[in-house]
């Protein structure tokens, strides 16, 4: 991705007040809407910000030098939380979750608790046979793999995720296919996630899924179950790039002008509890990056007596325009 020679903001931090869009809560009010919690059905667990990649769109600034990794003690507390409340979905994310040494143990314990366990993977962390044991456990426990694969174009994919990532990702998808993942009637689900490779909105999910399906099958014989397209969130490393490249204002305006009031109903933050690597509770992974705690209060899972009640307000900020742009982020 090319960067304009001259930055509008010279990389300086823009305060929320100076942003060129109205506060998210004000937009909600204009439409007569409130963003409140529904019944909680999903527990999302961020097992750490350590990652073998340093993707330029990462809202958490995960990377190879991060020391923020969920400890065995916090894993125990997460398992206890999952046992305490009837979550329908347990969603493991990172960083590259594969780099947490407690992951296999965690999956083995969680898969007995909830009917659906999902593991978000950048694919390359599963490359070169280094984590074959993990893949076998995922297969055995029917863990859904949700893999990042932003673009069918190698140069664009690597501009987002780093050199060599494209071919390695293709190789890992082939391997997952060979184990049954993504194959019809195997019961082993392989879903792809495509984020735009820059400061623009994602394609229509249906259209993109058809296209990925066609190209991946024809070029590499790869199959998958579903594709999800999500806009990039203007936080963390991606926000810094937006600032440095002079794209921040225009991107925020694009997100805000694409506000879709109908997207509010299905937003994931309404039914999800997101736990950070150190065990604190947020309404979503993006609020983790923004430091916005559930209910405006820093609560550790070991102190969590009840899940957030339906009707309780969700902490919002400008980044929430990402999930309400167009079809929305559900």
């Amino acid at each position: 991705m090319q960067q304009p020679a001259q930055s509008l903001h010279n990389g300086s931090k823009i305060s929320e007040k100076k942003l060129p869009v109205e506060p998210f809560r004000q937009t909600l009010a204009k439409h007569g809407l409130n963003l409140t919690r529904k019944e909680t059905t999903t527990l999302q667990i961020n097992v750490g910000l350590l990652c073998n990649q340093a993707c330029r769109h990462c809202h958490l600034e995960a990377g190879p030098h991060s020391e923020e990794v969920m400890s065995a003690e916090t894993v125990d507390q997460v398992v206890a939380l999952a046992q305490r409340f009837p979550f329908e979905i347990l969603d493991i994310t990172g960083g590259a979750p594969e780099m947490n040494p407690n992951l296999v143990d965690m999956i083995e314990r969680l898969s007995g608790i909830s009917p659906r366990v999902m593991l978000r993977s950048n694919l390359t962390a599963l490359a070169n046979g280094e984590r074959d044991c993990l893949v076998e456990v995922c297969k055995e426990r029917r863990v859904v793999i949700v893999a990042s694969f932003p673009s069918l174009n190698e140069a664009q994919a690597e501009s987002q995720r780093g050199r060599g990532v494209f071919q390695e990702s293709v190789n890992v998808m082939k391997k997952l296919n060979s184990l049954g993942y993504g194959q019809p009637d195997s019961g082993l689900e392989l879903n792809l996630v495509s984020n735009p490779t820059g400061a623009f909105l994602p394609s229509s999910q249906d259209q993109l899924e058809k296209r990925f399906c066609h190209v991946l099958k024809n070029k590499w014989g790869i199959v998958f179950n579903n594709l999800f397209s999500f806009a990039n969130v203007p936080l963390g490393r991606f926000r810094r790039w937006l600032e440095q490249s002079g794209n921040l204002e225009r991107y925020l305006q694009k997100l805000a002008t694409s506000f879709n009031p109908c997207a509010i109903e299905g937003l994931m933050c309404r039914s999800l509890v997101s736990v950070s690597w150190d065990g604190y509770v947020f309404d979503c992974d993006f609020n983790q990056a923004a430091g916005l705690y559930t209910g405006g209060k820093k609560t550790h899972i070991s102190d969590l007596k009840e899940l957030p009640e339906p009707g309780e307000p969700i902490a919002v900020s400008h980044h929430c325009y990402t999930c309400t742009a167009g079809a929305g982020f559900t």
């Binding site: 664009q156 490779t197 623009f200 394609s203 229509s204 259209q207």
Partner: protein, 110 residues
């Protein structure tokens, strides 16, 4: 005014309707219908629009349809090929007129 073209003018396009609202409405309705999914996909139409934008050399259109192509899932290679199609037709349209040159030259030459 230091330039005739400003990116921030692009979103003002609809304001053109303040002068002749009925004509603008007809135009924008038509425009919307043209770019809707049809026998051609919206992605294919955006690629055609990008190529035409380069032929008419409209900076607003190039800006708008570069973003639109990316948002509809096209990649840089496909977008570059689309521009080559426009370029080939544009160049070809000059070259094919060489037939006229040859006809005239032949007529007046010994």
């Amino acid at each position: 005014m230091d330039s005739y073209y400003h990116p921030q003018d692009l979103p003002k396009f609809e304001e053109i309707g303040e002068g002749a609202p009925e004509l603008a409405k007809k135009f924008f309705d038509y425009y919307g219908a043209v770019f809707a999914e049809g026998e051609l996909t919206a992605r294919e139409k955006a690629l055609i629009a990008l190529a035409v934008a380069h032929t008419v050399q409209c900076p607003y259109c190039i800006d708008a349809y570069t973003q639109d192509c990316l948002e509809k899932g096209s990649n840089i290679n496909e977008m570059t090929e689309a521009i080559h199609v426009a370029t080939a037709i544009r160049g070809g349209s000059s070259l094919v007129h060489g037939v006229q040159m040859r006809n005239i030259a032949k007529k007046i030459s010994l």
